[in-house]
């Protein structure tokens, strides 16, 4: 039915979807640029145009001074911070959902506060602490670590809580009814069912930690993380290998997400 009315209705029905796809394009384009630029052979140091195609950047990713060392530092901090933040945050989430105690709503708000503060304020207050405590000269790896655990905690708690909320308490009661003591109940029933949430929280925590600049920069001292390296390079001229790293990160993360999706789909039978 190719009447005007029919066309109008088709447009109306698909207007929102069309707008959505445009927005998605807007979101994806810079990523595509990153991937494209990883193959760029720049004419000058400060230029930011695509001049020529080359595989050199991929062949020699660690060429620029400090790129790979800062990458390693970021990964180290990321892993350590993720482990601690996930562990502490999961315990907190269990406490808040499964146990009754006074001050639970206060704890809720308290955990939410770091998420709601601008990074510059979080970073500056930590710096103020370190300076006042006399650690001004010791800013570095461990102060960054401390900061990262701090702001990742809230995200872990919120993520795990969301998953735990959907966990029917009757399941844990059924386990106990079937002769599982509290430890066995946790390992055999609660943990496997909450695990996707814990995993998501860990991944979120790692990406937040890896990507953080503002808080890190204020509390890093002489240590250089990857975002700090990029920032410094932005003034001097960004080496294209930075885009190689960006592309690799994107592909790895994308791969993980797709893999977990297919794994979950296969599990469901």
């Amino acid at each position: 039915m190719t009447s005007v009315r029919g066309v109008r209705r088709w447009v109306g029905n698909h207007l929102v979807l069309g707008a959505a796809l445009l927005v998605l394009l807007y979101m994806i384009t810079p990523v595509l640029v990153v991937i494209l630029m990883s193959f760029n052979d720049p004419a000058g140091r400060l230029g930011y145009d695509f001049d020529g195609f080359t595989l050199d950047n991929w062949a020699n990713p660690c060429g620029p001074y400090q790129l790979c060392s800062s990458l390693v530092t970021s990964v180290e901090i990321g892993v350590l911070a993720t482990v601690l933040a996930t562990a502490l945050g999961t315990l907190m989430a269990f406490a808040m959902i499964r146990h009754r105690f006074t001050g639970r709503s206060a704890a809720n708000v308290f955990v939410f506060l770091p998420m709601a503060s601008p990074e510059i304020v979080l970073g500056s207050s930590l710096l103020a602490l370190f300076v006042n405590a006399g650690f001004a000269g010791q800013l570095g790896f461990w102060t960054i670590f401390v900061a990262h655990v701090m702001f990742c905690l809230s995200f872990v708690v919120v993520t795990v809580k969301a998953r735990l909320h959907g966990l029917d308490p009757a399941l844990e009661q059924a386990a106990m009814d079937l002769y599982a003591n509290p430890w066995q109940t946790f390992w055999r029933v609660s943990f496997p069912l909450v695990f996707p949430g814990i995993l998501a929280a860990a991944l979120l925590s790692f990406s937040l930690s890896f990507d953080d600049f503002i808080i890190t920069n204020l509390n890093a001292g002489q240590t250089v993380t990857f975002p700090m390296f990029v920032w410094g390079a932005a003034q001097r001229g960004v080496p294209m290998q930075v885009n190689v790293v960006g592309t690799v990160m994107f592909l790895v993360a994308l791969g993980l997400v797709l893999a977990s999706g297919t794994f979950r789909r296969r599990q469901r039978g």
Binding site: L24, I28, R104, P118, I120, S124, L129, P227, V238, V242
Partner: protein, 299 residues
């Protein structure tokens, strides 16, 4: 374990069973995390406020004198008021843009995506996977003077021949919008996906046009997500300085830039007072906003 005959001969009032030990376990589980947050979030906040009241003539090497120097605030606000205003303005515009762009996207994913839903969600989150800074740098290419976007706009006569996009407030706001869009889309999607499609059907069953149904049914139900999204967008955006630094010029500096530079220069009290002021402004705006919209349970 068997209390054989004893229970049968029990007194008329059998012994009361033990209290459950739940509350203690709860506190124990909570303790390590809360301790960490108290040490590295609460105490630092106190330290920051304290630092803002130091005598500004001290330095990082020599130490500071605590003189309750409230004058720091007066000085800071007087000097940086325009920049505060600019930061909040940029953040507000970026948040508005995020709503305009993000709402249709969230709506589409919730109601129109069908089996592409997960793929679209991944597409929303995918930009996260590359580094924040690297992504923002790629806007430099996109908005560059010889770039595709500038060329197109010049062809369409929307940009003068010697006009430029980079190093403008527009570029900064574009960057801000781009970086915080997922924070708007995801909470909105979470809210919208909980709307029972039958409610929308009920709307049209009761003679409402699609626009009216949206206005009176869907939109109010999406408010919790909208509130969460605007907060998660506005608050970090107001303190950001990366977009301004990479995509702007000296006249687009935001309060984050100033605070960062002051800290780098070691001017602790001034920087601290700026930080506290920013935090106070945000808290104030959020309180007014949330009270106006209605308190929602965000977490």
């Amino acid at each position: 374990m068997t209390v054989a005959g004893a229970s049968l001969l029990a007194t008329p009032h059998p012994p009361a069973p033990e209290r459950p030990r739940r509350p203690r376990t709860g506190y124990l589980l909570l303790l390590p995390g809360v301790l960490w947050l108290v040490l590295f979030f609460l105490v630092p906040t106190v330290a920051l406020v304290a630092s803002s009241l130091y005598d500004p003539t001290g330095s990082l090497f020599e130490g500071y004198q605590m003189t309750w120097h409230v004058q720091n605030y007066a000085d800071a606000i007087a000097e940086y008021a325009p920049i505060f205003g600019r930061s909040l303005l940029y953040a507000a515009i970026a948040t508005g843009a995020c709503v305009l762009l993000g709402y249709p996207l969230a709506y589409a994913i919730a109601f129109k995506a069908g089996r592409w839903r997960n793929l679209m969600l991944i597409a929303v989150v995918a930009p996260f996977f590359t580094s924040f800074l690297v992504r923002t740098l790629s806007w430099k290419l996109l908005l560059g003077d010889n770039g595709f976007v500038a060329d197109t706009l010049r062809t369409l006569h929307l940009l003068s021949p010697d006009g430029y996009l980079l190093a403008t407030p527009l570029a900064v706001i574009t960057g801000l919008t781009y970086n915080f869009l997922p924070f708007m889309v995801l909470p909105l999607y979470a809210s919208l996906s909980k709307v029972d499609p039958q409610l929308i059907e009920a709307g049209s069953d009761l003679y409402a046009s699609p626009i009216t149904t949206f206005r009176r049914v869907t939109f109010p139900l999406s408010l919790p997500g909208l509130v969460a999204g605007t907060l998660l967008t506005f608050i970090p955006a107001s303190g950001d300085f990366i977009n301004s630094e990479l995509l702007g010029n000296p006249r687009t500096r935001m309060i984050g830039n100033e605070i960062q530079d002051l800290f780098a220069a070691g001017a602790l009290p001034v920087a601290a007072s700026l930080s506290v002021t920013l935090m106070a402004l945000i808290v104030l705006m959020v309180l007014v906003y949330v009270r106006r919209v209605g308190t929602e349970d965000l977490v």
